[in-house]
Symmetry: C2
Subunit: 155 residues, 2 copies
């Protein structure tokens, strides 16, 4: 695995995200890394991240994990494919155009969650990332993020 998270390469003006921004003091600090051809993210839910029934993770938190891991994977994929080092050129920032999550099984609270991502389609500024979320080596959730590279003149 790479040592520094994708999200920690984002330019300061894009680093305030509640999900993954290093500059958001109250945020979740979701962090994604390369592990070979796949991106990986580990997250340990806090006790208050429970869903509607005790012992299982809130589905909305899972959507957050998939969102930020998916957008981060799109960003790092674009950097990698263009041959640019993220520590020299900050990776392009992507926004989520759509998010789809299939909850296949309840996700237990008391274990480290592992998300794995892979860009499955790249067309111009649009990258589609497929994500799985596993707990104890069981895939509990599958997701898909359609991420779009922000225009340079967004501000």
């Amino acid at each position: 695995m790479t040592m520094k998270a994708f999200q920690d390469y984002y330019a300061d003006e894009f680093a305030s995200c509640y999900g993954c921004g290093r500059l958001n003091k109250h945020g979740l600090h979701i962090k994604s890394y390369w592990d070979g051809e796949e991106s990986v993210c580990h997250f340990q839910p806090k006790p208050h991240h429970t869903g509607g029934y005790p012992g299982y993770v809130y589905g909305g938190l899972i959507a957050c994990l998939i969102d930020c891991h998916g957008a981060g994977t799109a960003s790092a994929t674009k950097s990698r494919d263009s041959g640019e080092e993220m520590d020299i050129h900050p990776p392009p920032r992507f926004v989520t155009a759509s998010l789809h999550v299939d909850y296949l099984a309840p996700t237990p609270m008391d274990t480290m969650l592992e998300l794995r991502g892979r860009a499955i389609d790249i067309k111009g500024r649009k990258v589609i990332v497929a994500v799985t979320l596993s707990a104890n080596d069981n895939v509990c959730v599958k997701g898909e993020v359609v991420a779009v590279q922000m225009p340079d003149n967004f501000f």
Copy 2:
């Protein structure tokens, strides 16, 4: 609008949800009500709920709002259709089987968000709820929740 939120009728054992549980001290306390044939939810994002670019709401938070408002709408719809009063019989608890969110436009931070929901398909224990999220009367996000009624013997 009804005076008590759908989520406040859930039985205690289903009221711990980070998104909408009245018993979760650290949660978002998302609350949904009837407004005629539609369900409505208002939510004021906190300053730390920002997305990857300043001034706009984090997409993962929006997914949380759609998730809990959708599941709550499924629950209240089932109660209403069965002719049961929620204050006498707690509404059946639904879990989210899948969630889809289309982010049509950036959602501004500095205003009250309004979500509106409607059950568009009911088949046995499955209810599909369509949700819109508006800010300043502009629809910024559309979502769909496939919610499934939890079995009585879940525990």
